[in-house]
Structures are given as C-alpha cells and as structure tokens.
Subunit: 329 residues, 2 copies
C-alpha cells in the first residue's frame, strides 16, 4: 500500500495566499488496476495561473491543481513501462494512480543531458505558451519590436528569446536588477527594473522611442494602462497573464483603453495554450531544437522538498524566482 | 467671388461641447484653378468621432472636420462636371475650392429614388464601418449571437441589420423606448433601453442566456465592463466607438478586463474604417444592393440649416437622433 502526500486547498484565497490556505494530507492509494500506473512525482510546477484558477476550477478541500514530471513506479499498462517518465496533471501530490488518459510521455528523443524538469518549463507549458502566443496571437514578424513584462519569469524569458530568434527587437521589464542582468545575458536589446525606473512611461519610450508592434502581457493592471498608449498603429497585445491583479480583494481599476485602441487600431487577445493542443508536439520539438542549438537559454529556480510547495508557490507570486519556479521532491 | 460660411473650433472642448467652442466665420474663396472645382455643400454629416478627433487632429482656429455631400457648381476639371455630386472631407463649410484629390464621386449607379444623404450614412462611412467591422474584425458567422450598443445610431442600426442578413441572432441596446421600438422594426431579435432596465447585466443575460459570440462596441466605459464578462469563450469584440467616454474631463476608470479575457480567450480590436479603403467600393455596392432589396432599412435625423451644425452635433452626442444625424443646408 502506497501513501501519497497531497496539498489541499483548505480555504479559497482571499488576497495574497497564506500558509493557512493549505494543508498537507496523507492519502492511502489503491493498487493500480489493469491499464493503470502508479506515478511518483519528481518535479512539480508552481505557476501564476494557479492563483486565479483556484477560484475558477477548484472547490475547498480539493488537491491543489498543477502539473508534475513523474516516474512510473508500478505499471499495468505496457505503453507506460516502469522507469519511464511522464508529464501529468496530477496536482500537488507525491504519488498518483492514473488511468493514463491525461499523461504525456516525455518525448522519445529527449536528450540525456537535458533535465526532465524542463518538461514543466521551457519545453513544457510555459515554453509552448511563449511560442504559440507569439505565433498564433501576435503573429510577430521579423524586424518588429516586442515588449514583454514579467520578462525574467518562466514564460517571459522564453518569449524574449524566441522574439530574438525571429529577428526582432526585444524590450523586457522585470522587478529586480538581478533579473535585468539575466535578461541582458539572454540577449534582450533593452531591459529595465520597473520598480526603480521612476516613470514607466519614460522607460518604455526610451527603450523604443518609435513604440511597440507587439506586447506580450503577463502583468496587467496599471502596467497595461501605461503600455497600451505606447503601442504603434495596428499593434497587437497577447494577454497571457495579469499577475499584478491576481491577489486583489477588490478589483483594481484603470482608465478604459477603448479610445486608444480605436485611434491606434490595437488588437488585444486573451489566450490559454490549451487552445492549440494539436500544435503542442511539433512546437515542443522546435523548442527542444532551439535549446540544443544554444539559442534558448534556461534558468530554473528550484525549491527542495514537497513540504515546501506552498512556500515555493507564494515565493513565485512575489517574484522570488528568476526563470521557472519548480519544486524538486 | 464666392463666400463660404465655415464653423471654426475656437477652443478645444472641455467636457461636453458648448456653443462657445464654435464660431461661424465667412471666408472669401479664390477662383478654382485648372484641375480644381468649386463645391457647394448639400448634406453635412455630424458624427461621434468628431469629438475625440477634434483633440487629436485639430488645432484651435481650424474649421471643424467632417464629411459632406456637395454639388459641383463650377469646374475646371472634366472628371467632375458642374451639377455632379461628390462626397468630400471639406469640414463644416458651405463652399469649398477643391483640387479633387480627396473627392469621391457618387456611385454612377446611384438610384434616382435614393437620397444622396445616404452617402453620409448607410451607403457611406457609417455603413462601411458596420460592414467592415463585422466582416474584417468580428468575422461574424451564421448562427452566432451579436450584441451591439448605441444600436439605433448611424452605425449600430446598420450593424444589427447586416447581422440579421448574415443569419445571426441580434441583441441591441439603446437609450430610449422609441429607439427600442425602432430596433424591433428593423428586425432585432432582442432590444432594450439600457437607461431603464435596472441591471444591465441581467438585461444582457436575459436577452441571450448563452452569452455573446460577437460584440460591436460603440459605447465603451461602464457598459463594456458589464458586457465583456457576458461574452462566450473565444468571443470577439470590435471596438468602433466609446461615446460614453468622449466628454470625460478626467478619464473614467473600470476594472481591468485581462483575467476575463484570458479565461474566455476574448479578442478585442479597435478599428477605423479607412484601414480597408481598397474594400470600400465593393462594400458600398453591397450596401446599396441590400438597400434596394429592402433588406437594409434607413432612418435619418435631419437638422435644417448650416447655422445649426453645432446644435446638430451636440444633439447627436446626447443621443437625440434615431438613425443617422445629418444637416441639410
């Protein structure tokens, strides 16, 4: 009999998450039946989306949602042999009995020298979000100028690098000098610390006096109110996240963007990466290719210990991480 | 020597326009030179866009911007014979000497029994805005549900009718019971007076419990904050106008729409009809065709006298008109 540790959402978040929103519970797992496998978590992802999704998709008492890289440790399904690895939407749990329906095997050509943790980052959901946001939502073209905020995060850091691969000028905003230094290492043309620039408007104008063709939006809130008027005519905005608003107890308000959107004919589109599930396999291969060629650099922010999941999650929401925030069991 | 009466913007608008923002001036016109024509205004358009454009595109002391249907009364250009009619962006003036570059001749197959005033309305800029907003921005498909506000106005009333032609369910919001009755005459499936419904949210839910695929936005401001959450997944919003905010002295604010746009993957796009100038001739022909077939009904709100232009403009901004607001010289 295997015991799974799980993290429960005991109470819906009000404002910024607190330790008391979470509870560690131990669960006895049944034996896998025919066709099923028993998984053991190796890496667990903490991502910004979990904050708003908790309210939209979870009940109090549910295991926290989330994705993990797991190892098959017992198998009654020949397609998933013992010792193989998968990406699983198991939530925050150390062990899972799975009917394999939602499992994604790690790509067969995954290189030995590439950490499997990247299946939760640059070669996983965040990387796909960056790539498909750029290609399917923004339609970014060579020679254009792209703005990305939360640029040192799991998605933002990939966005900027892909835009460089595509021959664009890239401007990144991040929340610490260390993050700005990281963005420069990644090849961003311009990067600034939005917390210390004084005027965000001036920083945006200075970084690209001619404005922005594309804006990959991860932050929302007041940043968006300043950034939208800096778009060029026919500018496109991919709305991927709004982390600055996720912990609001009363919604923040800002000026209506309509008139600016009309005069500049701006398009703004919200998206989630699952929309293009059919494109994920080919897109993952391209991401892995760029990684192997050295065109995509990676940084990960590891927290050791399943017990630390809430701390890792809250730290990520506070911007502690540079690159992808991941928990190592 | 011909004298032109003109309406000057003496001082930029602050808040709602006042009589003191305008001044009637008389101007001596030179003789037309070779290639030029002398125009006499017959119908002049007053449109919502003039309010925000005044700040963006005009200096104090300029003649108010605007389009008119004019008659050629003197010609030194064989392509524009005396007695022919044109659409001209002359601004608010009774007479104009034009080098013909920006003139659009009235379509050669314009029917005798159709008022030339419609070249400023259903068969002109507002009609093209409706048609191209629906086709190029919304990509409205048969069977979908469309919401339009300011629905009894020059653009909105055409939007709803085209959506019906395309086999859609149409919901319209307007600001008086007479306007709502007009929308029902036009064949709108649902129409309500937003000033008397009590809860706009409930009115929108009642009119289409399953939500909205497309939203043709003419109003902006708080209406948009209520309407955006009523969109279906993958909903599209064409941002054509924001009349509820044009007279703000300090910008109105509302909740940031980002999270709703992400969860529902909503697209919102500002546009101006000039973007598809290449499509105007063919699109105008289609509008005229629908008019002749009786599929597009028309109502115009005429004000008599060039002297009344400011009053007609201010009345239109207050929603006095049902259908297109036009001044007859």
């Amino acid at each position: 009999m295997v015991q799974a540790k799980t993290w429960i959402l005991t109470k819906h978040f009000e404002g910024f998450p607190k330790d008391s929103n979470f509870e560690l519970k131990v669960e006895e797992l049944p034996e896998p039946k025919d066709g099923e496998v028993l998984l053991e978590a190796v890496f667990l992802s903490v991502d910004p989306y979990m904050r708003p999704f908790s309210r939209a998709r979870m009940q109090e008492g549910d295991v926290m949602i989330g994705t993990q890289v797991a190892k098959v440790i017992q198998s009654k399904n020949p397609a998933f042999p013992v010792g193989s690895h998968v990406v699983s939407r198991s939530g925050w749990r150390t062990h899972t009995v799975s009917d394999v329906k939602e499992l994604i095997p790690i790509m067969s050509d995954w290189p030995q020298d590439v950490s499997l943790s990247l299946a939760l980052g640059t070669i996983g959901m965040p990387g796909l979000t960056a790539l498909l946001g750029i290609e399917e939502v923004l339609g970014l073209q060579k020679g254009e100028t792209l703005l990305v905020n939360a640029a040192a995060g799991a998605v933002g850091s990939v966005v900027g690098q892909i835009a460089k691969i595509k021959g664009c000028k890239v401007v990144g905003s991040a929340g610490s000098d260390a993050k700005v230094a990281f963005l420069k290492e990644l090849g961003f043309d311009e990067a600034f610390n939005y917390k210390t620039v004084g005027s965000l408007e001036e920083a945006l104008k200075k970084a690209s006096p001619e404005g922005y063709d594309c804006f990959f939006e991860n932050v929302g809130g007041p940043f968006s109110s300043v950034a939208i008027p800096q778009m060029k005519n026919l500018g496109r905005i991919a709305v991927c996240g709004a982390i600055s608003t996720y912990n609001d107890t009363t919604p923040q308000t800002g000026p209506y963007p309509h008139l600016t959107m009309i005069f500049k004919q701006i398009k703004m589109e919200g998206f989630m990466v699952g929309r293009w599930a059919d494109k994920h396999p080919e897109s993952s291969k391209r991401l892995l290719g760029w990684l192997k060629e050295g065109k995509l650099k990676v940084r990960e922010h590891f927290t050791k210990g399943f017990e630390k999941m809430p701390a890792a999650f809250m730290g990520m929401l506070q911007g502690e991480n540079i690159g992808k925030a991941t928990v190592v069991v």
